[in-house]
Symmetry: C2
Subunit: 218 residues, 2 copies
Protein backbone atom coordinates (compact mmCIF):
# COMPACT_ATOMS: atom_id res chain seq x y z
CA UNK A 1 0.00 0.00 0.00
CA UNK A 2 1.53 3.29 -1.13
CA UNK A 3 0.63 6.10 1.25
CA UNK A 4 2.70 8.60 3.30
CA UNK A 5 1.07 7.40 6.53
CA UNK A 6 1.99 3.78 5.84
CA UNK A 7 5.50 4.78 4.74
CA UNK A 8 6.01 6.60 8.05
CA UNK A 9 4.76 3.67 10.11
CA UNK A 10 6.86 1.20 8.14
CA UNK A 11 9.87 3.48 8.62
CA UNK A 12 9.70 3.39 12.40
CA UNK A 13 11.16 0.59 14.49
CA UNK A 14 12.19 0.16 18.10
CA UNK A 15 15.81 1.25 18.22
CA UNK A 16 18.20 -1.19 19.90
CA UNK A 17 21.33 0.97 19.83
CA UNK A 18 21.60 4.77 19.76
CA UNK A 19 24.17 7.03 18.16
CA UNK A 20 25.35 8.94 21.23
CA UNK A 21 26.86 11.73 19.14
CA UNK A 22 23.51 12.99 17.82
CA UNK A 23 21.06 15.31 19.57
CA UNK A 24 17.53 16.16 18.43
CA UNK A 25 17.41 19.73 17.08
CA UNK A 26 15.42 22.04 19.36
CA UNK A 27 12.89 22.88 16.61
CA UNK A 28 11.99 19.18 16.19
CA UNK A 29 11.86 18.66 19.94
CA UNK A 30 9.49 21.60 20.26
CA UNK A 31 7.12 20.09 17.66
CA UNK A 32 7.27 16.72 19.39
CA UNK A 33 6.46 18.10 22.83
CA UNK A 34 3.66 20.25 21.44
CA UNK A 35 2.20 17.17 19.74
CA UNK A 36 2.41 15.32 23.05
CA UNK A 37 0.63 18.18 24.80
CA UNK A 38 -2.18 18.01 22.22
CA UNK A 39 -2.85 14.28 22.90
CA UNK A 40 -6.51 13.44 23.44
CA UNK A 41 -7.61 11.89 26.73
CA UNK A 42 -10.80 10.77 28.43
CA UNK A 43 -12.95 13.85 29.26
CA UNK A 44 -9.84 15.85 28.28
CA UNK A 45 -8.52 14.96 31.76
CA UNK A 46 -4.82 15.11 30.73
CA UNK A 47 -3.99 13.13 33.90
CA UNK A 48 -0.29 13.17 33.18
CA UNK A 49 3.05 14.82 33.76
CA UNK A 50 5.88 14.40 31.28
CA UNK A 51 9.42 14.72 32.63
CA UNK A 52 11.92 15.38 29.86
CA UNK A 53 15.41 14.17 30.71
CA UNK A 54 17.69 16.36 28.60
CA UNK A 55 20.86 16.70 30.66
CA UNK A 56 23.52 14.09 31.30
CA UNK A 57 22.88 14.49 35.01
CA UNK A 58 19.17 13.69 34.64
CA UNK A 59 19.89 10.70 32.41
CA UNK A 60 22.44 9.41 34.95
CA UNK A 61 19.78 9.59 37.67
CA UNK A 62 17.45 7.57 35.44
CA UNK A 63 20.13 4.97 34.69
CA UNK A 64 20.72 4.58 38.42
CA UNK A 65 17.05 3.61 39.03
CA UNK A 66 17.45 0.41 37.01
CA UNK A 67 19.86 -1.17 39.49
CA UNK A 68 20.78 -4.52 37.97
CA UNK A 69 17.83 -4.86 35.59
CA UNK A 70 17.65 -4.15 31.83
CA UNK A 71 21.27 -3.28 30.98
CA UNK A 72 20.20 -2.63 27.38
CA UNK A 73 17.58 -0.09 28.48
CA UNK A 74 20.18 1.57 30.71
CA UNK A 75 22.43 2.02 27.70
CA UNK A 76 19.59 3.56 25.66
CA UNK A 77 18.97 6.08 28.44
CA UNK A 78 22.60 7.19 28.27
CA UNK A 79 23.08 7.05 24.49
CA UNK A 80 19.70 8.49 23.44
CA UNK A 81 19.22 12.18 22.88
CA UNK A 82 16.38 12.58 25.41
CA UNK A 83 14.25 10.39 27.67
CA UNK A 84 10.59 11.15 28.38
CA UNK A 85 9.05 9.86 31.61
CA UNK A 86 5.30 9.36 31.27
CA UNK A 87 3.81 10.09 34.69
CA UNK A 88 0.16 9.25 35.41
CA UNK A 89 -1.96 10.54 38.28
CA UNK A 90 -2.63 7.89 40.96
CA UNK A 91 -5.52 9.78 42.57
CA UNK A 92 -7.04 12.07 40.00
CA UNK A 93 -9.85 14.13 41.52
CA UNK A 94 -12.32 16.92 40.92
CA UNK A 95 -9.61 19.33 42.09
CA UNK A 96 -7.31 18.14 39.31
CA UNK A 97 -10.09 18.55 36.79
CA UNK A 98 -10.38 22.19 37.85
CA UNK A 99 -7.18 22.92 35.89
CA UNK A 100 -8.94 21.62 32.76
CA UNK A 101 -12.15 23.55 33.39
CA UNK A 102 -10.27 26.76 34.08
CA UNK A 103 -8.22 26.38 30.90
CA UNK A 104 -11.49 25.82 28.99
CA UNK A 105 -12.79 29.09 30.42
CA UNK A 106 -9.53 30.85 29.52
CA UNK A 107 -9.80 29.84 25.83
CA UNK A 108 -13.55 30.56 25.81
CA UNK A 109 -14.65 26.96 25.34
CA UNK A 110 -16.68 27.29 28.52
CA UNK A 111 -18.41 30.42 29.78
CA UNK A 112 -17.43 31.47 33.31
CA UNK A 113 -21.07 31.21 34.45
CA UNK A 114 -21.07 27.54 33.38
CA UNK A 115 -18.05 26.61 35.51
CA UNK A 116 -19.98 24.44 37.98
CA UNK A 117 -21.83 22.58 35.23
CA UNK A 118 -18.49 21.80 33.54
CA UNK A 119 -17.59 19.53 36.46
CA UNK A 120 -20.41 17.20 35.37
CA UNK A 121 -17.79 15.20 33.47
CA UNK A 122 -16.34 14.22 36.85
CA UNK A 123 -18.92 11.44 37.19
CA UNK A 124 -16.51 9.77 34.83
CA UNK A 125 -13.61 10.23 37.24
CA UNK A 126 -15.69 8.61 40.00
CA UNK A 127 -16.54 5.72 37.70
CA UNK A 128 -12.81 5.15 37.15
CA UNK A 129 -11.79 5.36 40.81
CA UNK A 130 -11.41 1.94 42.43
CA UNK A 131 -12.43 0.90 45.94
CA UNK A 132 -9.03 2.01 47.29
CA UNK A 133 -9.40 5.51 45.81
CA UNK A 134 -6.89 4.76 43.05
CA UNK A 135 -7.29 6.08 39.50
CA UNK A 136 -4.03 4.49 38.31
CA UNK A 137 -5.58 2.03 35.91
CA UNK A 138 -7.56 4.73 34.10
CA UNK A 139 -4.88 7.42 34.07
CA UNK A 140 -2.13 5.00 33.03
CA UNK A 141 -4.25 3.98 30.03
CA UNK A 142 -4.44 7.64 29.00
CA UNK A 143 -0.63 7.89 28.96
CA UNK A 144 -0.60 5.06 26.42
CA UNK A 145 -2.73 7.21 24.09
CA UNK A 146 0.08 9.75 24.47
CA UNK A 147 2.61 7.03 23.66
CA UNK A 148 0.73 6.04 20.49
CA UNK A 149 0.51 9.66 19.44
CA UNK A 150 4.21 10.14 20.27
CA UNK A 151 5.37 7.19 18.17
CA UNK A 152 3.39 8.38 15.16
CA UNK A 153 4.68 11.94 15.60
CA UNK A 154 8.29 10.77 15.87
CA UNK A 155 7.94 8.67 12.72
CA UNK A 156 6.88 11.82 10.83
CA UNK A 157 9.83 13.72 12.27
CA UNK A 158 12.20 10.84 11.44
CA UNK A 159 13.29 10.58 15.05
CA UNK A 160 14.00 7.11 16.42
CA UNK A 161 12.56 5.82 19.66
CA UNK A 162 12.41 3.00 22.19
CA UNK A 163 9.31 2.64 24.41
CA UNK A 164 10.20 1.24 27.79
CA UNK A 165 7.92 -0.66 30.15
CA UNK A 166 10.99 -2.51 31.40
CA UNK A 167 11.93 -0.19 34.24
CA UNK A 168 11.65 -0.16 38.02
CA UNK A 169 8.46 1.89 38.41
CA UNK A 170 8.81 2.32 42.17
CA UNK A 171 12.43 3.45 41.86
CA UNK A 172 11.68 5.91 39.02
CA UNK A 173 8.67 7.32 40.86
CA UNK A 174 10.80 7.82 43.97
CA UNK A 175 13.87 9.25 42.24
CA UNK A 176 11.86 11.79 40.23
CA UNK A 177 9.18 12.41 42.87
CA UNK A 178 9.74 16.16 42.82
CA UNK A 179 9.61 16.49 39.04
CA UNK A 180 6.68 14.05 38.70
CA UNK A 181 4.75 16.22 41.16
CA UNK A 182 2.61 13.47 42.67
CA UNK A 183 2.41 11.35 39.53
CA UNK A 184 3.70 7.78 39.30
CA UNK A 185 5.77 6.52 36.37
CA UNK A 186 5.91 3.05 34.86
CA UNK A 187 6.53 4.04 31.25
CA UNK A 188 9.37 5.89 29.54
CA UNK A 189 10.39 6.66 25.99
CA UNK A 190 13.93 7.12 24.74
CA UNK A 191 14.23 9.31 21.64
CA UNK A 192 17.20 10.06 19.42
CA UNK A 193 18.89 8.53 16.38
CA UNK A 194 19.86 4.92 15.87
CA UNK A 195 23.47 3.87 15.57
CA UNK A 196 24.23 3.37 11.86
CA UNK A 197 25.93 0.00 12.40
CA UNK A 198 25.02 -1.11 15.93
CA UNK A 199 21.22 -1.09 15.72
CA UNK A 200 20.41 -4.58 14.46
CA UNK A 201 16.68 -3.84 14.48
CA UNK A 202 17.02 -1.08 11.86
CA UNK A 203 17.97 -3.69 9.29
CA UNK A 204 15.24 -6.23 10.00
CA UNK A 205 11.90 -6.25 8.21
CA UNK A 206 8.83 -5.17 10.13
CA UNK A 207 6.62 -7.99 11.34
CA UNK A 208 2.94 -7.77 12.22
CA UNK A 209 0.26 -10.43 12.33
CA UNK A 210 -1.69 -10.63 9.06
CA UNK A 211 -4.92 -8.67 8.58
CA UNK A 212 -7.25 -11.64 9.03
CA UNK A 213 -5.76 -12.49 12.44
CA UNK A 214 -6.23 -8.96 13.73
CA UNK A 215 -9.49 -7.75 12.17
CA UNK A 216 -13.05 -8.99 11.87
CA UNK A 217 -15.25 -6.84 9.65
CA UNK A 218 -19.00 -7.25 10.07
CA UNK B 1 3.78 26.82 15.97
CA UNK B 2 3.50 26.26 12.22
CA UNK B 3 4.02 22.62 11.35
CA UNK B 4 1.90 20.04 9.47
CA UNK B 5 1.91 17.73 12.53
CA UNK B 6 0.58 20.46 14.79
CA UNK B 7 -1.96 21.56 12.16
CA UNK B 8 -3.28 17.98 11.99
CA UNK B 9 -3.55 17.64 15.76
CA UNK B 10 -5.22 21.03 16.09
CA UNK B 11 -7.65 20.05 13.33
CA UNK B 12 -8.92 16.99 15.17
CA UNK B 13 -11.61 17.13 17.83
CA UNK B 14 -13.99 14.65 19.42
CA UNK B 15 -17.07 14.72 17.24
CA UNK B 16 -20.36 15.19 19.07
CA UNK B 17 -22.72 14.72 16.13
CA UNK B 18 -22.14 12.75 12.92
CA UNK B 19 -23.41 13.33 9.40
CA UNK B 20 -25.22 10.06 8.82
CA UNK B 21 -25.22 10.53 5.03
CA UNK B 22 -21.42 10.21 4.67
CA UNK B 23 -19.38 7.01 4.50
CA UNK B 24 -15.59 6.73 4.62
CA UNK B 25 -14.23 5.83 1.15
CA UNK B 26 -12.81 2.31 1.06
CA UNK B 27 -9.32 3.55 0.10
CA UNK B 28 -9.12 5.73 3.23
CA UNK B 29 -10.52 2.95 5.40
CA UNK B 30 -7.87 0.59 4.05
CA UNK B 31 -5.08 3.02 4.99
CA UNK B 32 -6.57 3.51 8.44
CA UNK B 33 -6.83 -0.22 9.18
CA UNK B 34 -3.33 -0.84 7.87
CA UNK B 35 -2.01 1.91 10.14
CA UNK B 36 -3.83 0.30 13.06
CA UNK B 37 -2.28 -3.06 12.19
CA UNK B 38 1.19 -1.46 12.23
CA UNK B 39 0.76 -0.13 15.78
CA UNK B 40 3.68 -0.86 18.10
CA UNK B 41 3.12 -2.91 21.25
CA UNK B 42 5.14 -4.33 24.12
CA UNK B 43 7.42 -7.14 22.80
CA UNK B 44 5.37 -6.80 19.59
CA UNK B 45 2.71 -8.86 21.37
CA UNK B 46 -0.22 -7.34 19.41
CA UNK B 47 -2.56 -8.64 22.13
CA UNK B 48 -5.65 -7.31 20.39
CA UNK B 49 -8.51 -7.99 18.06
CA UNK B 50 -10.24 -5.16 16.23
CA UNK B 51 -13.86 -5.69 15.25
CA UNK B 52 -14.96 -3.27 12.53
CA UNK B 53 -18.68 -2.57 12.57
CA UNK B 54 -19.49 -1.59 9.00
CA UNK B 55 -23.06 -2.77 8.47
CA UNK B 56 -26.25 -1.29 9.87
CA UNK B 57 -26.99 -4.64 11.47
CA UNK B 58 -23.66 -4.71 13.33
CA UNK B 59 -24.10 -1.11 14.49
CA UNK B 60 -27.61 -1.91 15.72
CA UNK B 61 -26.20 -4.77 17.79
CA UNK B 62 -23.67 -2.34 19.30
CA UNK B 63 -26.36 0.25 20.06
CA UNK B 64 -28.37 -2.43 21.84
CA UNK B 65 -25.49 -3.18 24.28
CA UNK B 66 -25.77 0.30 25.80
CA UNK B 67 -29.20 -0.33 27.30
CA UNK B 68 -30.18 2.93 28.98
CA UNK B 69 -26.69 4.43 29.27
CA UNK B 70 -24.95 7.03 27.08
CA UNK B 71 -27.73 8.02 24.63
CA UNK B 72 -25.28 10.36 22.88
CA UNK B 73 -22.80 7.51 22.30
CA UNK B 74 -25.64 5.35 21.00
CA UNK B 75 -26.45 8.01 18.43
CA UNK B 76 -22.78 8.21 17.33
CA UNK B 77 -22.75 4.45 16.78
CA UNK B 78 -25.73 4.74 14.44
CA UNK B 79 -24.77 7.98 12.67
CA UNK B 80 -21.04 7.34 12.29
CA UNK B 81 -19.60 5.66 9.22
CA UNK B 82 -17.92 2.80 11.10
CA UNK B 83 -17.28 1.72 14.69
CA UNK B 84 -14.08 -0.03 15.77
CA UNK B 85 -14.16 -2.27 18.86
CA UNK B 86 -10.75 -2.50 20.52
CA UNK B 87 -10.54 -5.98 22.03
CA UNK B 88 -7.69 -6.87 24.40
CA UNK B 89 -6.58 -10.35 25.44
CA UNK B 90 -7.53 -11.19 29.05
CA UNK B 91 -5.14 -14.15 29.32
CA UNK B 92 -2.30 -13.63 26.88
CA UNK B 93 0.08 -16.58 26.96
CA UNK B 94 3.12 -18.14 25.36
CA UNK B 95 0.73 -19.84 22.91
CA UNK B 96 -0.55 -16.46 21.75
CA UNK B 97 3.00 -15.22 21.32
CA UNK B 98 3.63 -18.14 18.96
CA UNK B 99 1.62 -16.28 16.30
CA UNK B 100 4.11 -13.40 16.60
CA UNK B 101 7.17 -15.63 16.52
CA UNK B 102 5.90 -17.58 13.51
CA UNK B 103 5.15 -14.35 11.63
CA UNK B 104 8.71 -13.20 12.45
CA UNK B 105 10.02 -16.41 10.93
CA UNK B 106 7.80 -15.96 7.88
CA UNK B 107 9.19 -12.49 7.14
CA UNK B 108 12.74 -13.64 7.94
CA UNK B 109 13.17 -11.52 11.07
CA UNK B 110 13.88 -14.69 13.00
CA UNK B 111 15.63 -17.78 11.68
CA UNK B 112 13.63 -21.03 12.06
CA UNK B 113 16.45 -22.57 14.14
CA UNK B 114 16.08 -19.68 16.63
CA UNK B 115 12.36 -20.27 17.20
CA UNK B 116 12.72 -21.49 20.81
CA UNK B 117 15.01 -18.64 21.77
CA UNK B 118 12.49 -16.14 20.38
CA UNK B 119 10.11 -17.06 23.20
CA UNK B 120 12.57 -15.50 25.64
CA UNK B 121 10.50 -12.30 25.43
CA UNK B 122 7.72 -14.20 27.21
CA UNK B 123 9.33 -13.50 30.57
CA UNK B 124 7.70 -10.17 29.97
CA UNK B 125 4.26 -11.77 29.60
CA UNK B 126 4.76 -13.54 32.93
CA UNK B 127 5.80 -10.27 34.56
CA UNK B 128 2.52 -8.74 33.38
CA UNK B 129 0.26 -11.60 34.47
CA UNK B 130 -1.38 -10.96 37.83
CA UNK B 131 -2.01 -13.46 40.64
CA UNK B 132 -5.35 -14.44 39.08
CA UNK B 133 -3.74 -15.22 35.72
CA UNK B 134 -5.11 -12.06 34.14
CA UNK B 135 -3.16 -10.00 31.60
CA UNK B 136 -5.99 -7.48 31.13
CA UNK B 137 -4.19 -4.51 32.64
CA UNK B 138 -1.17 -4.95 30.37
CA UNK B 139 -3.03 -5.83 27.16
CA UNK B 140 -5.62 -3.09 27.62
CA UNK B 141 -2.80 -0.55 27.89
CA UNK B 142 -1.48 -1.76 24.53
CA UNK B 143 -4.86 -1.06 22.88
CA UNK B 144 -4.51 2.54 24.02
CA UNK B 145 -1.28 2.81 22.02
CA UNK B 146 -3.42 1.70 19.08
CA UNK B 147 -5.98 4.38 19.97
CA UNK B 148 -3.30 7.09 20.05
CA UNK B 149 -1.95 5.91 16.71
CA UNK B 150 -5.50 5.75 15.32
CA UNK B 151 -6.38 9.31 16.33
CA UNK B 152 -3.20 10.68 14.75
CA UNK B 153 -3.78 8.65 11.58
CA UNK B 154 -7.40 9.82 11.30
CA UNK B 155 -6.34 13.44 11.70
CA UNK B 156 -4.02 13.04 8.72
CA UNK B 157 -6.84 11.45 6.71
CA UNK B 158 -9.27 14.21 7.78
CA UNK B 159 -11.66 11.64 9.19
CA UNK B 160 -13.53 12.58 12.35
CA UNK B 161 -13.72 10.37 15.41
CA UNK B 162 -15.11 9.83 18.90
CA UNK B 163 -13.21 7.59 21.34
CA UNK B 164 -15.59 5.80 23.68
CA UNK B 165 -14.80 4.45 27.13
CA UNK B 166 -18.42 5.10 28.06
CA UNK B 167 -19.85 1.73 27.12
CA UNK B 168 -21.00 -1.41 28.90
CA UNK B 169 -17.85 -3.52 28.59
CA UNK B 170 -19.49 -6.73 29.81
CA UNK B 171 -22.41 -6.34 27.41
CA UNK B 172 -20.16 -5.54 24.42
CA UNK B 173 -17.82 -8.43 25.23
CA UNK B 174 -20.81 -10.78 25.44
CA UNK B 175 -22.64 -9.52 22.35
CA UNK B 176 -19.53 -9.70 20.15
CA UNK B 177 -17.98 -12.75 21.83
CA UNK B 178 -17.68 -14.66 18.56
CA UNK B 179 -16.08 -11.80 16.62
CA UNK B 180 -13.81 -10.79 19.54
CA UNK B 181 -12.55 -14.38 19.63
CA UNK B 182 -11.75 -14.53 23.34
CA UNK B 183 -10.83 -10.87 23.72
CA UNK B 184 -12.65 -8.46 26.02
CA UNK B 185 -13.68 -4.97 24.95
CA UNK B 186 -13.97 -1.81 27.02
CA UNK B 187 -12.98 0.69 24.36
CA UNK B 188 -14.51 1.66 21.02
CA UNK B 189 -13.94 4.33 18.41
CA UNK B 190 -16.58 5.82 16.13
CA UNK B 191 -15.24 7.21 12.86
CA UNK B 192 -16.93 9.22 10.12
CA UNK B 193 -17.65 12.87 9.36
CA UNK B 194 -19.09 15.46 11.69
CA UNK B 195 -22.47 17.03 11.05
CA UNK B 196 -21.87 20.47 9.48
CA UNK B 197 -24.30 22.24 11.83
CA UNK B 198 -25.03 19.80 14.66
CA UNK B 199 -21.51 19.16 15.98
CA UNK B 200 -21.03 21.92 18.55
CA UNK B 201 -17.52 20.72 19.34
CA UNK B 202 -16.27 21.41 15.80
CA UNK B 203 -16.70 25.12 16.39
CA UNK B 204 -15.03 25.38 19.80
CA UNK B 205 -11.35 26.13 20.25
CA UNK B 206 -9.08 23.33 21.39
CA UNK B 207 -8.10 23.42 25.05
CA UNK B 208 -5.07 21.83 26.65
CA UNK B 209 -3.25 22.63 29.87
CA UNK B 210 -0.30 24.98 29.28
CA UNK B 211 3.20 23.63 28.70
CA UNK B 212 4.50 24.41 32.18
CA UNK B 213 1.70 22.41 33.84
CA UNK B 214 2.39 19.34 31.75
CA UNK B 215 6.18 19.26 31.28
CA UNK B 216 9.24 19.44 33.48
CA UNK B 217 12.51 19.59 31.56
CA UNK B 218 15.64 18.71 33.48
Amino acid sequence: MNHPIIEDLLWRHTTKKYDNTRKIPQADLDVFLEALRLTASSINSQPWKFVVLASDAAKARMKHTFGDISPLNQQHVIDGSHVILFGNHPRYSRDDYAAVVDQDIKVARTRPENRDAAFGACVYVEKNTDSHGSTSSWTKAQTYIALGNALHTLARLKIDSTPMEGLDAAAVTKEFAKELDGHECSLALVIGYHHPEGDFNAKLSKSRKPFEQVFTVI
